[in-house]
Chain length 76, copies 2
C-alpha cells in the first residue's frame, strides 16, 4: 500500500517550517516530492500544495540548476 511505502520516506531537507523535500518508493518507482506538510492530531501529514517528480523530471530539473540560477540573476 502507499502507507507501507510511505514509512520508508527519506526526508532530505526542510525548505521552511513544514515544506519538505523527500524521496520515496511508490508503485515500483522512485519519486522526489517537494511539498508542504501540516500537523493534525499529532501526526505530520502531506498537504495538497506540492509537486511529485519522477526520475526523468528530477534529472531534468537537476541538469538545469545553473540555468535556473542564471534566470534568477536576470531578475535580480
Amino acid at each position: 500500500t502507499e502507507d507501507s511505502d510511505d514509512s520508508e520516506n527519506i526526508v532530505v531537507c526542510e525548505l521552511s517550517g513544514k515544506r519538505r523535500v523527500s524521496v520515496r518508493s511508490w508503485q515500483g518507482k522512485i519519486w522526489v516530492d517537494i511539498r508542504d506538510f501540516y500537523e493534525k492530531d499529532g501526526k505530520v501529514l502531506p498537504g495538497k500544495k506540492g509537486i511529485t517528480l519522477n526520475m526523468d523530471q528530477w534529472n531534468i530539473l537537476r541538469d538545469h540548476i545553473e540555468e535556473i540560477d542564471e534566470a534568477v540573476s536576470e531578475k535580480s
Copy 2:
C-alpha cells in the same frame, strides 16, 4: 498586477509535456515555480499542481542536490 509581472516569466525548462520550471518577479521578490500548466482557449495557463519557492527555499533545495541524489541511490 500579477499579470504584467507574469509576462516577464522566464521558462527555464520543461520537465515533461506541460510541467515547467519558471522564474518570475512578483511582489518585489523572485520566485522559482515548478508547476503543471494546461491549455484553454489557445492560452497556456498555470494549473493548481505545483509549488512556488522563494529564494531562501530555492537555495536550500539547490544546496541539497547531492543529498537528494544519494537518497535516490538508497532507494534504487
